[in-house]
C-alpha cells in the first residue's frame, strides 16, 4: 500500500536554529498538508498546498514557517528560527482529491527544541 514517508523520525535542534522537515507524499496525490500535534494535545492543521502554492493556512502558520515542493517528489516544512513551543510531532499528509478521499498521513517527525 502506498505510504507517505517522513524524514527524519526525530530531530533535536537548538532554539533559534532553522529546521527542515521532509516528506515524500504518495506519487499520484495532488494535495499536501502539514499538521502538528503538541504532546498530549490534539492534532492541528498548519497548511495545505496545491498546484505549487499554499491553498490554506492556519493562524499557527506564521512567517516563521514555509513550505516548498522543490522537486516532483518532496514536500518540505521549514521553520526558520525554532522556539521551544515548536516542539511537537509534525505530520505530513497527502490526498488524491480535495476532501472525499481522506488523507494518508506519514508516521511523523518528532521535533524537540532545546
Amino acid at each position: 500500500e502506498p505510504e507517505v514517508t517522513q524524514t527524519p523520525s526525530h530531530q533535536v535542534t537548538q532554539m533559534g536554529q532553522e529546521v527542515i522537515l521532509r516528506c515524500v507524499p504518495i506519487s499520484n496525490h495532488l494535495y499536501f498538508y502539514w499538521y502538528r500535534q503538541i504532546l498530549g494535545q490534539k492534532v492541528e492543521f498548519l497548511v495545505s498546498f496545491y498546484n505549487n502554492e499554499i491553498s490554506e493556512k492556519s493562524e499557527i502558520f506564521d512567517d516563521q514557517f514555509s513550505v516548498e515542493r522543490p522537486d516532483g517528489s518532496n514536500f518540505t516544512l521549514k521553520i526558520r528560527s525554532t522556539k521551544l513551543e515548536d516542539s511537537a510531532m509534525y505530520f505530513c499528509a497527502s490526498s488524491e482529491d480535495r476532501t472525499r478521499a481522506g488523507y494518508t498521513f506519514g508516521s511523523g517527525t518528532r521535533l524537540t527544541v532545546v
Binding site: Q6, V43, F45, T99, G102, G106, S107, G108
Partner: protein
C-alpha cells in the same frame, strides 16, 4: 466555530466486550467524517470514513462507525475488543462545501482494552 468533540478522554473495556468511542461535531452542512487511530510513537492511520450512503460504515480491523445526522454524531464501534486495539483514536471532519479541505480533529480518546 467548527469543532469536533470526543467527550471521553479514556475508554476502558475488557477484551471480548463491545466498545464505543464517541464523537459529535459542530460543522455546517453534512461534513465528511473520519476516524484515525494512533499507536504509540506512530503516525495517524486511517480507519474509516463516511462520505454518503449507508449510515453504518465498516472500516479496518473490524471497526465500524454510525453516522447520525440528527444527533450530529459519528461514534466508533467494534463488537468485540482486542487488547491490540488499545491506542489513541481521533475523530475528524471536513466540510462538504469545499470552503476548506483541512481536517478538524477531536481531542482524541485513549482506548484501553484489558485482557
Amino acid at each position: 466555530a467548527q469543532s469536533v468533540a470526543q467527550p471521553e478522554d479514556q475508554v476502558n473495556v475488557a477484551e471480548g466486550n463491545p466498545l464505543t468511542v464517541k464523537c459529535t461535531y459542530s460543522v455546517s452542512g453534512n461534513p465528511y467524517l473520519f476516524w484515525y487511530v494512533q499507536y504509540p510513537n506512530r503516525g495517524l492511520q486511517f480507519l474509516l470514513k463516511y462520505i454518503t450512503g449507508d449510515n453504518l460504515v465498516k472500516g479496518s480491523y473490524g471497526f465500524e462507525a454510525e453516522f447520525n445526522k440528527s444527533q450530529t454524531s459519528f461514534h466508533l464501534k467494534k463488537p468485540s475488543a482486542l487488547v491490540s486495539d488499545s491506542a489513541l483514536y481521533f475523530c475528524a471532519v471536513t466540510p462538504r462545501d469545499g470552503a476548506t479541505n483541512k481536517l478538524i480533529f477531536g481531542t482524541g480518546t485513549l482506548l484501553a482494552v484489558q485482557p
